[in-house]
Symmetry: C2
Subunit: 739 residues, 2 copies
């Protein structure tokens, strides 16, 4: 009775929103922590964030640029001024920048692409062009080619299957692909594998130009001259400096020769604007594209090949530049050897207001507030490391080199890595290691939407409820206590932490209401951001509240807030998906083969058109998923046992906390994934043929998707084994703490 | 044993394709009939059809035009020359033709729409403009209005729901709607009901212009200047002459005053081209349209209202013109009072090569061949009436007036009505009374595709197999012995026969491979047709084979080939659909109301945008479908009994044949449908708010769809009663023949 009474009192003290005990804190500790967080919030200033955003975005500041270095030094100064120990971690990295970019239509008419973005009178920043990198795709090889165009839609594997059904291949041709649907680097990778000699990537106005909404400066969408820059390095093989895979690109590191760097593209690639793309596409003939391939130009799209013939020449300065990571450390008062790392990159492709500065200024605001708390006697119990990464844009290079360089220490000391990148507004979106699902749900429940009087969790749940399509989605949106956090693929600096080292990681941001077309273009300016994306940085401040809570709770929790029931439930879902994937493919292929064999395709297709039946495909064998399911059941039991017997218990020993935070490492294997050994994590990886998009239990999933059926069983065993290791760890903790 | 042996012999004689006994014929009769059909086919000449197509399409030939009358007389001459008794059935009908058509953008910029279609050097017909009717919508009222534009997408009920969620209405505004998705007449009808003062209908290039494929003359799709003409008469209320509903528009018929004709629109309406629409849409502002509303123009589409403001003036010559139906009769040798009617209209909006002449020339070829057979001693046993209708385009007027005029005789004598209209190529498509499902399946199995060595039925089944989405569709495509024939809504001359009189009807044509954008435009020429649609009239000849077989079998069958199992199976499907419709709406509304009530919409929608939550809606009560299901079971039993005990029996008495062919009448009620008494059929009707699209069991379905829940139960009873009457008829036949 006394106990219940106490709980009731605490509830009323903590208030409605924060009634629940924080994972890893007891009731009294929770109250203290929430009080600390209120102080933390009070020090955040969106006005300062806005001023910083303006200041850092005043000039183009890519890695290797004057402004990039100056920004890094300014950031370092800020951290120092707040009391942090600051190191500038420098790496010498290969960075190709354009010398020559030429693209001409040479037949049947002639046109020379401008390859330039317009300065706009309405946006002064677009006239600030010192050291401006023109539109290009970093890590394209040099090339000088001329050939007919083939339109490959988004350049995905399924797009080539349609072309094949039309009797069209890209051998010796130049593939022209739309941006979108898949990470850009996949487009030249796959086109090259299919025999194309170059790839042009353009932004179709249907996707993020006038088709999507009013274009800049009238609205947020892509200006006709805008070009999305971006890396085409083969990041799904390994990110970071192309010459130093697996090791830090220090001055004296042993480097590959450029020609041996397997993440540089095999064919030249150039991104172009809507304005430059239209004359090329309008000059194409051949079969009319399938309805779902149409874009937003006022033309009939054709597949080619030709008669549009283009000459493409790109030549790059393959230069070594210095990347400046700013590493700011605030030593933990109680557990200095346990590191909570919080990062955001500082380099942009141009002015980079949204990407990355909108996230970086949240990090800076957090860091200042944390420092203020420390000065007021509330130093974090664990060490907090703030990182402002350089060279993220060309391929997560700054973070990857630092992680590779400090791999041993990080494996030992890193509790978690918390990432942000460009921010927008709308709904909180959190991806990460599923051991943090419960942890982040508490934070989402504690932080309120700045425009509506509801928690971030409630607002996101409303979105899920409204958008739910399947019965499972509807049921989950309404009834699942925790919202799922999405599994991480790639696309920002969490990748080396999570996927190379197995450090529990998360990525946070707001999205859903600030859509636009400025990404990686000249128009990602302060003016654009503060007009269209998050005016006044209202959601930027809330991002700082979210990321700040995550950092402080991880830093201060007596028991590290790792929780395994969410992990188990998500892995169960992934295993179900794998079974469904295999079953669906088997059924689809059997049905399709039957329709090929009985002449249905031949009878139903228009004999006057080029579209033929698909190719017959090998049937999908049945796989033994039992090892995964057994591993799953064991994990579930272990997670339940931890939850019921331990999680709410007293502060554990440091040894147990280390066992908790290092548990994510057990989901990795040193040998890495099949065909890409840099990627060690066996639950999360970017897709080898999708890029940023995640593949969960990637060994199994990709073996099925890529029709390497002989490899599936081994991958099932390997995945089961890492899950078993995690279970064993949890069982050990339970056993230790039960004693 | 002897019997089996005989059957085997017959099979081998009849050959593989035509092995089965023809419904209504015994084995020997089937053989004779098939032999007759071979002779019939031999007389068809696609060269002649092609020549006729060219001849009749040389000038614009709408009702009331010189060429229209001349074509009628030429057609009459042809019939006469082949030995038919020919009557020109004349009706005096109201036909508005344009005096003034003006459309200007008056703010924020100015633009005057040309409202003209270009003559093309590549198509000589497009320069033949004698008596050319310019683009207009027949039966728009006169009007002279100026107001802001509101973009209403396709102008369907659901489109207005979206506008309402944006806080936009059309009261006092001009609605601009895309052509497509719903019959054009619904657009001004609904816009008027919603308070708009005019409607502009335009052809979006995404739908049948450059977005769909290469445009004329490079390809078949809609030229930038092309305008789809068409009637906007409220045909779902009643078709035919607007002044003489229910009676023939003879010279002395009693007529309504124009102002009392309820099928004339309430607001003025004008169709325009892509070229004229672009400046209007480009001048609009307001919220950006939902993604699924976007069209193919290179602009951002906005909802308005305004600032685009237009002045629209239309004035018509409300003239009475003469419609010339050509009625050609070949008296039946055995049953002259049983009439098989076969029709196609002859009037076009312009040159009308595809619509209607491509179907008409098939009818003419059939008629000549039938006449040749008669001359060779194979006169049809029943009377065949060929009809070339006038004034179909402005509102099924020629056929409707004739049907109304001769209603009593037709109810008594008409065995069936067989319709064609514009033809294309690809897959046979047959809609009609379900009592003819088996009948038409035999024909589809007997006629072969002209390009592939398979039957029309097999080719269509291949299409269904390939396109099947749901499990039911997949199962049916593979396993249902007969392909379903689609239920008829409206859109051609079968409507008065089927829906006003209850004469079993069918509509036949090829489609699926001759897509284009010439429909009701200046570009529906011989040149367009013979280049893009059915070059050489290869499928035109096959259409004649199909329609000719249908005509000859109905004319010659000792037992009329009506069959009720197909009817029962289809009605069962419709009843299931009604139950699913009610259940789905109930579930959807409950879910949506819950999401409104619990604040989900408010929480999930972007507070900076205009889109608000939907309106709360009354829940759907549970209905008692038992009367329909009981009627259904009785029908199924009756159909089974007829099939098992009678259908294969000896030739029945004329009385039984009359009971068979008049059975469709029992599905009508003299009182007609609720709110539109002209429509008598209780299984098939065009949708009151969808137009041409069919609504099966329309009384029940539309009461549910239009939220008139109090009316549902009565409609269930009425539908059950007509089905019961059909069952009773079948039971009577079974009883009579069993004796």
């Amino acid at each position: 009775m006394q106990h219940l009474l106490l709980a009731a009192v605490l509830v009323s003290i903590a208030g409605a929103a924060g009634a629940e005990e924080i994972l890893g804190f007891n009731a009294a500790e929770s109250e203290a922590q929430r009080s600390l967080e209120a102080d933390f919030d009070a020090q955040l200033s969106k006005q300062d964030m806005d001023a910083w955003l303006k200041k850092f975005s005043v000039r183009p500041h890519h890695v290797g640029s004057t402004a990039g270095k100056e920004n890094a030094m300014l950031i370092a100064d800020m951290f120092r001024s707040w009391g942090y120990d600051v190191e500038i971690a420098e790496y010498e990295i290969l960075l190709p920048t354009p010398i020559t970019r030429e693209l001409e239509l040479v037949a049947p008419s002639s046109f020379t692409a401008s390859l330039e973005e317009d300065s706009l009178p309405e946006d002064a920043s677009t006239s600030v062009r010192d050291e401006l990198l023109p539109p290009y795709n970093a890590f394209s090889i040099d090339g000088d080619v001329e050939a007919e165009l083939v339109f490959v839609n988004y350049g995905r594997p399924e797009d080539y299957e349609i072309l094949e059904r039309h009797g069209i291949d890209v051998v010796g041709k130049i593939a022209i692909a739309k941006y979108g649907k898949t990470w850009r680097g996949i487009k030249p990778k796959l086109a090259g594998e299919k025999g194309a000699i170059a790839t042009i990537i353009y932004s179709d106005p249907a996707d993020d130009g006038y088709g999507a909404g009013d274009v800049y400066p009238k609205g947020p969408f892509k200006h006709a001259s805008a070009v999305q820059r971006g890396s085409v390095m083969d990041m799904p093989t390994y990110p970071g400096d192309v010459l130093t895979p697996g090791i830090g690109a220090t001055k004296r590191a042993k480097r590959l020769r450029i020609k041996d760097a397997e993440t540089i593209t095999k064919i030249p690639v150039l991104p172009i604007s809507e304005r430059d793309a239209l004359p090329l596409l309008a000059a194409m003939e051949g079969a009319v594209v399938p309805p779902e391939w149409r874009g937003g130009f006022p033309i009939t799209y054709h597949l080619g090949p030709g008669p549009a013939r283009v000459h493409l020449k790109v030549k790059f300065n393959w230069e070594t530049v210095t990347a400046y990571n700013v590493i700011a450390t605030l030593k933990g008062s109680d557990f200095p050897d346990e590191w909570v790392i919080r990062g955001n990159h500082h380099d942009g492709w141009n002015h980079g207001a949204a990407d990355p500065l909108s996230g970086l200024v949240a990090l800076l605001a957090e860091a200042r507030s944390v420092a203020e708390l420390a000065k007021a006697g509330h130093a974090p119990k664990r060490t907090i490391i703030y990182a402002a990464w350089d060279a993220e844009e060309p391929g997560l290079i700054g973070s990857t080199e630092w992680v590779e360089h400090h791999a041993r220490d990080l494996k030992k000391h890193a509790v978690a890595y918390l990432n942000t990148d460009g921010n927008s507004r709308g709904f909180i979106s959190i991806g990460g290691s599923h051991v943090l699902e419960r942890f982040f749900n508490q934070i989402m429940a504690d932080v309120r939407d700045p425009r509506m009087d509801i928690s971030l969790q409630d607002r996101r749940r409303a979105l899920l409820k409204l958008n739910a399509k399947t019965d499972r989605e509807k049921d989950e949106a309404r009834n699942r206590a925790d919202l799922r956090i999405y599994p991480l693929g790639s696309g920002s600096d969490y990748t080396p932490f999570l996927q190379h080292l197995g450090i529990a990681s998360a990525n946070m941001g707001f999205s859903g209401e600030g859509a636009g077309g400025s990404y990686h273009t000249l128009y990602d300016t302060y003016e654009h951001y503060s007009t269209w994306r998050d005016p006044g940085l209202v959601y930027g401040e809330v991002l700082a509240q979210v990321a700040g809570r995550a950092t402080l709770r991880l830093a201060n929790a007596p028991r590290l807030p790792f929780e395994f029931k969410g992990l188990a439930d998500n892995i169960r879902l992934y295993i179900t998906e794998l079974e469904e994937l295999a079953d669906k493919r088997r059924k689809d292929i059997e049905l399709r083969n039957a329709l090929i064999d009985d002449g249905t395709y031949a009878a139903a297709l228009d004999p006057t058109k080029t579209l033929g039946p698909p190719k017959r495909e090998e049937s999908v064998p049945h796989f033994n998923f039992a090892p995964l399911k057994n591993a799953m059941d064991r994990l579930q039991n272990a997670a339940d046992a931890y939850h019921e017997t331990v999680a709410a218990g007293a502060a554990p020993s440091p040894e147990v906390n280390e066992m908790l935070y290092s548990s994510e490492r057990l989901l990795t294997r040193d040998a890495g994934l099949r065909g890409r050994t840099w990627y060690k994590h066996h639950i999360y990886a970017p897709g080898f043929y999708t890029g940023y998009g995640v593949k969960t239990i990637p060994g199994v999933r990709e073996a099925i998707e890529q029709r390497e059926y002989d490899a599936v069983q081994e991958q099932v065993e390997l995945a089961a084994r890492v899950i078993d290791r995690m279970s064993q760890r949890i069982e050990s903790i339970v056993a230790m703490e039960a004693n």
